[in-house]
Subunit: 225 residues, 2 copies
């Protein structure tokens, strides 16, 4: 029984990885940088994306694919801030997006007009870590209300990501969260991690995030030119 | 491929439910009330349990089985507050506890001395909803930093639970969270839900939670006498 489960799982993952490779190639051909945002539920991905779309959505040619277990609430929220298409994927109970859903989502995205694709994954610190979606990189959004120990408790997610965004830093005065300790724990799991600190609610620190997005979009365009 | 996956999954769930039934019977025979605490990562289950063990752990004969994906951090934290055994289960990547892990955990718990068993599940709003552990009831710990929409986004978890504990209410002044709206969304999914509001960090509202535990432990003991 256990052996059968593992075999089936491996075949499913192999198939996912194959589709992710074609997604990655398609995005590369169109010169699109793609970030896969992962986090706990309620870490603030959607609010951060709302503000990002409003402030630099047009400038950076941002398109969004947002995944949710049951609702399209996040897609509806995001759509208010952009004339660009926001593609919603309802996973119907699954705890992560998979590459096939991104492949299908891309058919509804204007790839010619897109320079930066942001995938908002399901709020979950376990499942999305193992699923390659063809992204340039995974980025963890980490609310300072969650406690410093999350990199140790969910190491795979932090291993698989290139950046960590500390969000809700306006609450640091009110919660027992030591940013230096959280950074140390995260580096223990993945020494190459880079960090941002911001408050999507108040706008603090968003400029550094935008500079990062801008630099990476320009770099890929220069590389392709 | 899809059919095979579903078949395997159904057999796994059937097997889990059968084990959960034997766990439930074993707990009933010993007159033990069992709550399965579920939440997002970082909602504050462990701190709430630390305080609960310190304040009423001895009075209510509380034992704990705590599940974590990779570490035993939570078990170590809890063990500082009680002389009672805290049984740690490392799921090794899985996003939830299953009944077999509880069945094995019970072998290490002094059931004669236990009147209330609290299971601290993996921090995850998707996976644990589908897994019966033989508990009396599931209880969702819901941090007010997570946003009011979580019951709509993760309905199955709220459908499967009897109570919701709003935690971190000391932060209500600093976050855009409307408790009445969150209650309305939760009742939309499950009209029978009951609610607690507390701050495990500051101790506010913990007495009502203790009264609830006390009443349910006494009720089961009276029922069995």
């Amino acid at each position: 029984m256990a052996v059968r489960r593992i075999e089936v799982r491996e075949r499913v993952m192999e198939r996912n990885n194959a589709i992710a490779a074609t997604v990655r190639e398609r995005l590369r051909e169109h010169g699109i940088v793609t970030y896969n945002l992962v986090s706990s539920p309620g870490a603030g991905k959607t609010l951060m994306l709302e503000r990002t779309l409003r402030d630099v959505g047009r400038e950076l040619g941002i398109s969004v694919i947002t995944g949710d277990v049951q609702t399209q609430n996040d897609a509806d929220r995001l759509a208010r801030h952009t004339s660009r298409l926001v593609q919603a994927v309802v996973t119907g109970g699954a705890c992560h997006l998979d590459a096939r859903q991104i492949e299908a989502g891309l058919d509804a995205v204007d790839l010619e007009a897109t320079r930066l694709l942001i995938i908002e994954n399901v709020g979950n610190l376990v499942c999305p870590a193992n699923w390659d979606l063809g992204e340039t990189a995974k980025i963890v959004v980490f609310s300072v209300t969650e406690g410093e120990d999350k990199p140790l408790k969910y190491p795979r997610m932090f291993e698989q990501s290139t950046h960590v965004i500390f969000n809700k830093i306006d609450l640091l005065r009110h919660v027992p969260f030591d940013v230096d300790r959280a950074v140390a724990y995260a580096r223990q799991v993945n020494p190459a991690l880079r960090f941002f600190s911001l408050s999507a609610l108040h706008g603090t620190g968003m400029d550094e995030w935008y500079q990062f997005l801008r630099a990476n979009v320009r770099e890929l365009q220069a590389h392709q030119a």
